[in-house]
Symmetry: C2
Subunit: 85 residues, 2 copies
């Protein structure tokens, strides 16, 4: 078994309203950042996975995204595997 690092990005789909992003946008405007036009907030997860090989680690990461890390109805995800954590 080797240890792999996975980097998972979860973002809201473009058509989905993002209240958290809108709150951040309002906060930035209040602070005087008037040039900001839009903000979207997503998640960035880093995982350490023990797996026999990189292919298996990638398969596991994709399955984790589909089952728990992302909500595929409203979110998109991508998982990258790197060798060392």
């Amino acid at each position: 078994m080797s240890r792999f690092a996975a980097r998972v990005e979860v973002t809201l789909k473009a058509a989905v309203n993002d209240p958290q992003g809108n709150a951040v946008l309002g906060g930035l405007h209040s602070l005087g950042f008037s040039g900001v036009r839009a903000v979207r907030v997503g998640k960035l997860l880093t995982l350490e996975i023990e797996a026999p090989d990189e292919e298996d680690a990638r398969r596991q990461a994709d399955e984790m995204c589909a089952k728990l890390l992302a909500n595929p109805v409203i979110e998109s995800y991508s998982a990258q595997i790197t060798d060392a954590p």
Copy 2:
């Protein structure tokens, strides 16, 4: 004025405890992903910024991170600017 897209990554510093990451780790174990050893959860923000040039957009993005998007005491951040949103 041109419009730039900024990609901001905010992650907890290594020494800081991550209860959200630990909750996700527990959830993954419950689902049978026993090979997962650690999970850290961070934020991934995408912003659209109107600025005279890329240099100014970068300066604004860094300032937003320091003032609102990240808590520099416990979080690290990095901002990248790309031309088109």
